[in-house]
Structure formats: structure tokens, C-alpha cells
Symmetry: C3
Subunit: 247 residues, 3 copies
């Protein structure tokens, strides 16, 4: 199985599907091609949330604002998964989550028909070859020791106060923070950036339109509104600071 | 085969695909993940239009504004199909269309890792298990007798006048009413909410920009504009009343 | 393998997937269903760019503003590929690219349940039948000699000046012209509609926000901005004339 992730929208993902289908019988499954353009941070977050649910697979990721530059092309072995994508940090959080001792390899052979569409000409063929052979079998890969790191910002927790930031806002407007879910307890009230809200288990625990703090499916504290958009209600966006204090 | 429908946009459907792929070899086919957020009515309409075209399959549907509440999780056996989704009515019109004597089962075991993402933690695993085993083989399902009903509003037809309403507007702006196609006859003119328009077989039967009434692929009367948006021309939206009188 | 292309958005492509799955075991791969509504020109361009990357397949294309009119339904044999779609020119550029001597066939049997959804009732079943049998095996197809032609406009090149036009603008805002990449040389400066810009190999060869001319993955000259939208910077859209002069 090869999964495909990109910020391409349409129609470019179809060219990658064609290249893979021409080189491999691998089953293909789309993650999404709607990642925000060139946004390594948001893509890295969602890959870490989503890819670990898959059975062992090759995961092709093309969110690559540095296309055509000297940045390396990586294949990362992490547990039973292989991640293929640019050396810009986007693969790191999910790699570390899959296996803290992941092994990175870089492509040594970068002849490509196009300098503007490495997704089709470099990454997709590499994903197909890694799928059908293995990293060890490819002599165009060599161990890479000095790759671009990526870590999500850490919150600080002092007694009853947690200070963190917004990692991403999902399509429902739910605000995903970097504050671990364990900081809150269901049933308590907290103050979020000055606003007093309950910590509840589900969106529907309050009336429609009411703000809440909950623990999202990712395990972090999430600012939300029942049947509404938490990002609007709390006036925050990715990178905004979030201060939560317990009563 | 397992089909997937939701209002999730991205990237959450990918987590469901991962869970299913990890539990089953079933072929996966997306219906859409662009159903309007929390809109049971519109989703129920399109499921009824689309799912019956598939060969026997398990159809996973997650349009679930009550996630995390006490609402039941259903598996419905309808003909050779199985529908898996929340007990909010969304599955009922297509179930009835597939088999008026459909049988509903509810999940008795609701331990879930997350209270906010039942699509990944409850519905997707259930769809995979129903696919690989069968409803009868699962001891976590029991017959459900008192499930949430859903019926589309009925039109009234008195002589030459039909009074109904707009069920949905599609992406082309075509207005799908609940008035059966048999009420009109190709070639006649009718008055729709005060406007005189012809009843024709195809959009292209009139000049570009001209309004028509036609019989849509769903079998109901549809208000449309050749190469334009019927919803704008007729000034209606889902729920609007529609009065059509023959000359 | 059957690929699917349309301007349907959602949910209509799912009905086509259902019809194909009910008639054939063919693997299905989406190209996109986001082609601009009724836009034969843009669809024809992208099909020519994308479909040749696939292994031999049946390619179903439904961008069909003339649905329900007398326009023919075509199956075109081009190399080892078959293209199925309306006779409005949309299939021609990719057919010619795959095989200059392509053979076109028209459907003689046009009984269809619906006059408004030929994608589901005519094109999808035909794609499934062509996939499982072959064009020659279907007695509902006959050779078609007089089909609708489509050619992209040609640029004129006189010495150091090329005059062409914008073919399409992609989702990144990159402006794809009809001027062949060979007209420029990496490293030179050119004047594009009065603005002096460098011809470079990659977007990242200049500072963010700076305009460039490059050779896109399609082989034509492309007007772009590093990390920005070329269409906005150059003030052009599909059909705009483009004059490029070398220094």
C-alpha cells in the first residue's frame, strides 16, 4: 500500500497516481491533497495524527516549498512504515511517533525530467520503487545523518496554569492546542485567555453555540463550540498563544 | 467493498481509511466527504440517490452532529447492503429504498478511545467487522426496534397544481424538488412560483441562460437554467416552497 | 484500470463509481472531479498532461455541457489507452498525444434512463463494457469519421519575440502559456508583457515574491512567482495574450 499526501489540490496528484500505477501494483490510498500550500507545520501535525492508523505502508508526502532547490529527498524507515518526502522536517514528527529510532536515507540520484514537479518525477517513482523493493535494495539511497529537524512547540505547565499555543485549526473550526489533555479534568471549569469555560467530554455536553474545552481525538486540549467554530469564538489561529488556568 | 461518506472534509477521512485498511482487505470507495456539516437531510437525500447504484457493499456514513451523546450506533441490513452510521435518521431513506423490510441493529459495546471522533474509533471498526464477518456473527450488535425515523416531506397535488418544496440544490445550482417527475409532461409550459417556464427533457433544449423545469436523474421535477444556476434564477434554497401549476 | 474525470464536484461521481463497480472488477482511479464546469479547453489541457502517465487504461471523461443533445458519445482507441467521453473535442488533444493515428468510435445505442445524467447512464456503463470486453467486441459502437476537433492555439515566434497566450492557470496561480520552453534559456532575462524577469530553472531561484519565467512540467514557458501567484503578478488569466521578448 502507498498513501499519497500533498498540497497540490488538483490535477497534479493524478499524475503521481499514474506514475505509481505504471511502476507498481501497489494499492493507493489518498490521505488528502488539500494540505495548506507549502505549510510544513500543519502537514507534519496531521501526518502524525493520521498515518499511524494505517497498516504497514509506504507514505508519499509532497509538501515541498523548496522544490528544485538543493534540499534532499528522503526515505525514512520508521517501524514497519516507510515515509518518502522532502528533507524539510515534514516527515519527522510522524517518523518519531512511529519509531523513535527511525532511519533516514537520502536519494543520491536526482536526475529529474522536471525541476518544478518533483512529486511526479522524483518522489512518486521513489515511493513505487521502495514499495516493490525495499530501502536496502536501492543503490540510489544512502544513509542520511544530518536531516532537517522538526518539533512542535512545547507548553509550559506551572501549577494550575498551562501556557501553550494553537497548533492547528481543523475544518470544523476546532482549535487544537499543544497542551496535553491530562491537564484538564472533565467537569471542571477553566479560564482560557480570560474566558471561563467548562471542560467536557463531548461537544454536545453544552447547548449549541456554547464554548468548551475538550480532549480531542489527538489527546490534546481542544477549544471548541458545540455546532460552531471554536477558532472564531476564542479569536485564535495557528500560532496564537493559549493560557489555560484551573479554578 | 466498503464505501465511505462523511461531512469531514479533510484530513479525518484518512484516519478512517487507515483503520479500515488495518482491519480488513475490503476495497474502499469514497462517496464524498463534502456533505454539508451536520446536515442529516441533505446527506440522507444523496445517499438514497447514490448508494443503490453500487453492488452489494457495506456503506459507512458519518454525518453525526450528536457525536459523543447517547445516540445509538446502527448497522442496518437492507437487501444485500449493510449501512453503518449514527441513529439520527440519515440512513433511513436509502435503507427503505433498498429494502422496505430492512432490519436495524444497534451496537451494544460503546467503549471508544475518543468521545469526539467516533468515525475513527467506533464506526470505521464496525464497518470493517461487518464487512469481514456479518451482522449475525457480531455479538456486539443486537436488534434495534426504536430507531430515529426520517421521511422527506411529501408534496400535495390537487388537479393541475402541485405544491411541494426544495429538497436540495446540487453543485450546478439545479433545484431538486419533491414533486414527482410524472406531474409534468415534456413540451408543456408551467408556472413555477409565478414564473412561466417550459418543461423540457434536457438543459440544452432552451437557449443559454433560460430557465426550465426538467425531470432530474432522481426522477423528481428539477428547476434549472441552461448553463446557469436554477437556485439563483428561481430565488429558492433547500426548504423553500415550490408551487407548480399546469396551463 | 478505469480512470474517472469530470466537472461534477460531488456527489454525482459516486454514482458513476457505483455503476462501474456493479458492472466490472476494474480498479478505479480518480483524476479529478474539480474540472471547471463545462470547460472543454481547460479539461482537454490537463487530460493531455496527466493521462499519458498512466499504464494502459480506460479513461472516462465527463465534461459535457451538451448533455442530452444530439452530440455523439465517443470511445477513442489511442495507443494502448481508450478514452470514453462526449464528442465535444475534450478527448482530442490527449488522444493525439497518445497516438497521432487514434481511432474514434461512436455509440449507436443511446437509450438512457436519464437525459440529464449521461455520466451515470451512458458513459460509465460504456467505460465498464469497453474495459471488460474491447471496442471491437461491442456491436453498439461504430467507426466515427466526423468528430469534433480541438487544437490549442499556436504561438508565433519571430526572431527574439514570441507571441502566444495563457492556456490555463493552475491552483498555485502558475500561468501556463502555449510558448514552448525551448524559446527561453535558463539564465537570460526576458520582457513579459512589458515586465523584465529572469528565466530560471526553479521557483526558488529568486527571492520570495519575485516573478520569474520557468519551464513547467508540461514543457511550456510558465509565468510564476516564488511562493506567490503568477496570475496575479502578471495580471493575466486563461486566454490573455502573452508577449515575451529576449534581450
Amino acid at each position: 500500500m502507498i498513501t499519497l499526501s500533498s498540497d497540490f489540490g488538483w490535477p497534479y496528484p493524478a499524475a503521481m497516481r499514474g506514475v505509481i500505477a505504471a511502476e507498481s501494483d501497489a494499492r493507493m490510498v489518498d490521505i488528502t491533497h488539500a494540505f495548506p500550500r507549502g505549510n510544513v507545520h500543519t502537514t507534519a501535525f496531521w501526518l502524525r495524527e493520521v498515518l499511524p492508523w494505517f497498516p504497514p505502508a509506504v507514505h508519499l508526502v509532497v509538501v515541498d516549498p523548496g522544490v528544485g532547490t538543493e534540499r534532499d529527498v528522503l526515505a525514512i524507515e520508521a517501524g514497519e512504515h516507510v515515509l518518502v518526502g522532502p528533507d524539510n522536517g515534514v516527515l519527522i514528527p510522524v517518523a518519531r511517533h512511529l519509531d523513535a529510532g527511525f532511519e533516514a536515507y537520502r536519494l543520491t540520484d536526482m536526475d529529474a525530467a522536471s525541476q518544478t514537479f518533483h512529486g511526479r518525477d522524483v518522489f512518486a517513482p521513489l515511493a513505487a520503487r521502495v514499495h516493490d523493493a525495499s530501502i536496502e535494495a536501492l543503490d540510489t539511497l544512502e544513509p542520511a545523518s544530518d536531516i532537517v529537524e522538526y518539533r512542535f512547540p512545547k507548553p509550559t505547565i506551572e501549577g494550575t496554569v498551562a501556557t501553550g499555543e494553537v497548533l492547528v485549526v481543523d475544518g470544523f473550526g476546532n482549535v487544537i492546542t499543544n497542551i496535553p489533555g491530562g491537564f484538564g479534568e472533565f467537569g471542571m471549569w477553566v479560564t482560557v485567555n480570560g474566558e471561563r469555560v467548562p471542560v467536557v467530554r463531548t461537544y454536545a455536553a453544552v447547548d449549541r453555540g456554547e464554548p468548551i474545552v475538550t480532549v480531542g481525538s489527538h489527546g490534546n486540549l481542544e477549544l471548541a463550540v458545540h455546532d460552531g467554530r471554536g477558532a472564531d469564538a476564542f479569536g485564535v489561529s495557528p500560532g496564537s498563544s493559549v493560557r489555560i488556568s484551573k479554578e
